[in-house]
């Protein structure tokens, strides 16, 4: 094969989710034996592009050629056609928790099956043990995958992909859950495989990793390529940040209503978060303040927010709030489809379950006040619906999220903790929710936001708390610039 011929060629790839154009005609090529870093901010389309490449979420239009397989994308599934030449390690490990480590490693590997399709367990265990030794991992191959820690799981997922011997490999934020030692092992393997001619598409939020391991860089912004196939040696952090950021589009901007003299609304003292031993977090929320918890996937920012919201208990430490009862925190969960709303119930019921005890009389019967209370909240959060009895599952994503906000405000809380407050809502609803959060701050409430979107954080937060490995590692207060935020988030500033 001609070594100058790209192993991957994607032409004019487009992908739309609802009203969001995630990819708008992207070209992307990978040469054999190259580590190609794909950079861009959250929502720029990196994960969507590599998912289109692996067929995990098929592209709507465009041409994809991998080695000798060519696919004309039309939204239909084509993952099976490229299984033999492509491995995709996703952000969160997708292992079979109830299967053993060895079974997970060889689940799609034909080499442990005989000609009748039966799997030799002995061969599988031996080969798994070999592989684990090769990676310097002290894991019993017959342990259940579900029992492993986050780092080991991530490595296992990577090993599974690498051991399939495919020519192209996608690593989507592979180091998120890895310790430094584990990272070293990973990078060595990437370099070894690269020397053998294997190509990598590498996504990471850590620019230092990119400079260490990548040869070429492509930068995406808003679903388009802004820098294609640039050798990494021609770039520096400054240039990359500028390219990722792009020009500012017209958006609402943040307001500062922080009352520095006010009584602290919520205070966490030396709290240890579950899953993050020796994390001793201290954090305060002031009246009128919007605090954003930021950090990479698996950094513990969600877990911290759940503790602050009183949804999970801290292992140790003390949390004090103005009100003794934790349910008096307004809480907007991460994924509204899972824990945000009750789909078969109407808007009224969904809002009022946020404060049933407040809306009922001494005997527990729902009082007349319910209707006016719900109406007021629904108006405050801008819900648009034909009636209060409309099942929430029939509303649009934006309206569903507004109902979740209305519910969280049902008890008139001092502090609102919102995880991914605008996940999966359109631009219009997004701005309405931003306005809502700013209004809540103006009223003197404290707001805690967890978000993966730098734009969102920059538009909302008066204080950005960077969380990493369950600890607060950095803070940005007051009048920061977008570039500061990106640099702090990428962990190089």
């Amino acid at each position: 094969m001609d070594s100058k011929r790209p192993i991957v060629e994607m032409r004019n790839i487009a992908k739309t989710f609802g009203s969001t154009r995630a990819l708008r005609g992207v070209d992307f090529t990978v040469m054999p034996g190259e580590v190609h870093a794909l950079l861009g901010r959250n929502g720029a389309g990196k994960s969507t592009l590599v998912s289109a490449l692996s067929g995990f979420t098929p592209a709507d239009t465009g041409t994809i050629r991998i080695a000798d397989t060519t696919i004309e994308a039309n939204g239909q599934n084509y993952a099976a056609a490229i299984r033999g030449v492509m491995a995709h390690v996703q952000q969160t490990p997708r292992l079979f928790d109830l299967l053993t480590v060895a079974e997970n490693l060889f689940v799609e590997n034909a080499s442990v099956r005989n000609k009748f399709g039966f799997v030799s367990h002995k061969a599988m265990l031996t080969r798994a043990a070999q592989l684990l030794t090769e990676w310097n991992l002290d894991i019993n191959p017959s342990a259940l995958a579900g029992e492993l820690g986050a780092g080991s799981r991530q490595l296992l997922e990577i090993m599974k992909a690498l051991s399939r011997g495919v020519p192209v490999m996608i690593l989507d934020e592979p180091t998120a859950a890895l310790s430094n030692a584990e990272k070293r092992i990973l990078f060595e393997h990437v370099k070894t495989l690269k020397a053998r001619g294997v190509s990598f598409v590498y996504i990471s939020h850590h620019l230092d990793e990119v400079f260490e391991v990548a040869d070429t860089v492509t930068i995406l912004r808003d679903g388009q390529v802004v820098k294609a196939r640039e050798p990494v040696s021609n770039l520096d952090v400054e240039t990359i940040a500028n390219l990722m950021m792009g020009e500012k589009t017209s958006r609402s901007s943040r307001e500062d209503h922080t009352n520095h003299q006010g009584q602290i609304l919520l205070e966490a003292n030396e709290i240890e978060i579950k899953g993050f031993p020796d994390s001793k977090v201290n954090i305060q929320v002031l009246p009128g303040e919007i605090v954003a918890l930021a950090g990479p996937v698996g950094s513990g920012k969600e877990e911290l927010a759940l503790v602050l919201a009183g949804q999970t208990a801290a292992i140790s430490g003390k949390i004090t709030s103005t009100r003794a009862n934790f349910p008096d925190m307004g809480f907007v969960p991460n994924d509204r489809h899972i824990s945000g709303y009750v789909g078969i119930l109407g808007i009224r019921e969904n809002v009022s379950i946020g404060g049933l005890d407040r809306l009922s009389n001494t005997f527990g019967f729902i009082s007349q006040r319910e209707d006016s209370h719900v109406r007021r909240l629904v108006e405050q959060t801008n819900v648009i619906a034909s009636s209060l009895d409309k099942p929430v599952s029939q509303l649009s994503g934006g309206n569903q999220q507004k109902v979740v906000f209305a519910r969280s405000l049902c008890r008139d809380p001092d502090v609102i903790v919102a995880l991914s407050p605008t996940r999966g809502v359109d631009v219009g609803a997004k701005e309405q929710l931003y306005a809502l959060l700013r209004n809540l701050a103006r009223e003197g409430r404290g707001v805690v936001v967890v978000s993966d979107e730098e734009d969102e954080i920059e538009q909302l937060a008066n204080r950005v708390v960077i969380v990493f490995e369950g600890k607060i590692v950095d803070q940005l207060v007051g009048n920061y610039k977008m570039k500061d935020l990106i640099l702090h988030m990428e962990g190089v500033a």
Binding site: F331, I366, S386
Partner: protein, 348 residues
């Protein structure tokens, strides 16, 4: 709405121009009235086929017969609304009154020989039922068992328990205190019927207007969302099992009263009819959906069908099979109705 070409969306609650008929239709189904036209049809058919059917005596007889199933089904609805099930209710219908009976009657009549005063009968029966419900809740909430397997085990255990404590013999005339509710009449109506109506009304009001009812629907509709909203989900689940057991215990007492004896086979098979009645009445086995109005229609439907088949002199072997067939048809109707009225899929 403005017609100036801009798509300014005003916030708030506005009618979406759905026709009145369509609205009435979905409300009709949502509130559990789906089966009442079918019931009416059956009554008309019954009146034509068997003239005796519409007589006051027969109608009261039907109500009297369904009151046991009715209370059990309303109890079952508590658990099904939160997306769980409780098979042991059938065991409670038999076990709770049996335990009370053996404590009341003399040793010669098959009792334990402690001959507690009569008034304790109801307390023992309901107390036992409540404890069994507490145990079911404990197994599901604290131990984390799947309610299907834990209550199935308990059902079999209770069935065996009945035979053990009664030494395999039925207890006759366990005393008026235990049999009053199931045998006496007030204002020309059996007390059991009045009790069924009372329970149906109270539970119906609680489901609809009480914060506890709201919590049941929320937990059944989406447990995680209910938890995130600050509802004490564990307490709701636990209490639902207790209420279900209490109502089944009451149903058992009614049955004992009607037969004037605690029979060893008492309640056998009732859980199947209860599930059938609940599903026919529009209760979703997936949780979060169902009304007492609907449940009552399901119970009445089963009662009327049984009665009609008997009056029409259908051989008893065929009665059971026909009831089963009718249950399937009714369940299909209910599912179709709820699918047409709302675009939300129901897991029935």
């Amino acid at each position: 709405m403005t017609i100036d070409g801009t798509t300014t969306q005003k916030s708030g609650i506005q009618s979406d121009g759905q026709s009145k008929l369509a609205k009435f239709g979905s409300a009709f189904v949502a509130q559990g009235f789906t089966m009442y036209p079918v019931l009416l049809l059956l009554v008309i058919v019954g009146a034509i086929v068997a003239p005796r059917f519409l007589s006051t005596t027969n109608l009261i007889n039907i109500l009297d017969q369904v009151s046991v199933l009715g209370l059990t089904t309303i109890g079952l609805t508590f658990v099904v609304l939160i997306g769980r099930l409780d098979l042991s209710l059938e065991g409670i219908v038999g076990f709770a009154p049996m335990l009370a009976a053996i404590m009341l009657v003399p040793a010669a009549a098959g009792g334990l020989g402690i001959q507690l005063p009569g008034w304790t009968g109801l307390v023992i029966a309901l107390g036992t039922a409540g404890l069994i419900g507490w145990f079911n809740g404990f197994m599901v909430v604290k131990v984390g068992l799947n309610p299907f397997i834990s209550t199935l085990g308990l059902l079999v255990l209770l069935r065996g328990g009945i035979l053990i404590i009664s030494k395999g013999r039925s207890i006759y005339s366990p005393g008026e205190a235990l049999t009053y509710l199931g045998s006496a009449s007030l204002f020309g109506l059996p007390v059991s019927v009045l009790l069924f109506v009372l329970v149906a009304v109270v539970v119906g009001v609680v489901f609809h207007f009480h914060s506890y009812g709201r919590a049941l629907y929320a937990v059944g509709g989406n447990e995680e969302a209910a938890r995130a909203a600050g509802i004490n989900v564990d307490r709701i689940i636990w209490s639902a099992f207790i209420y279900a057991a209490l109502l089944s215990g009451l149903a058992g007492v009614l049955m004992t009263g009607r037969l004037d004896s605690a029979v060893t086979t008492q309640g056998q098979g009732i859980i199947f009819s209860a599930f059938a009645a609940a599903v026919i009445g529009g209760v979703s086995l997936g949780g979060g959906r169902g009304t007492v109005i609907g449940v009552v229609s399901g119970v009445l439907l089963i009662g009327v069908i049984n009665n009609l088949l008997t009056l029409a002199d259908v051989p008893s072997f065929y009665v059971q099979a026909s009831t089963g067939a009718v249950i399937i048809v009714a369940a299909v109707l209910t599912t179709l109705a709820s699918r047409r009225s709302g675009s939300v899929k129901t897991r029935t």
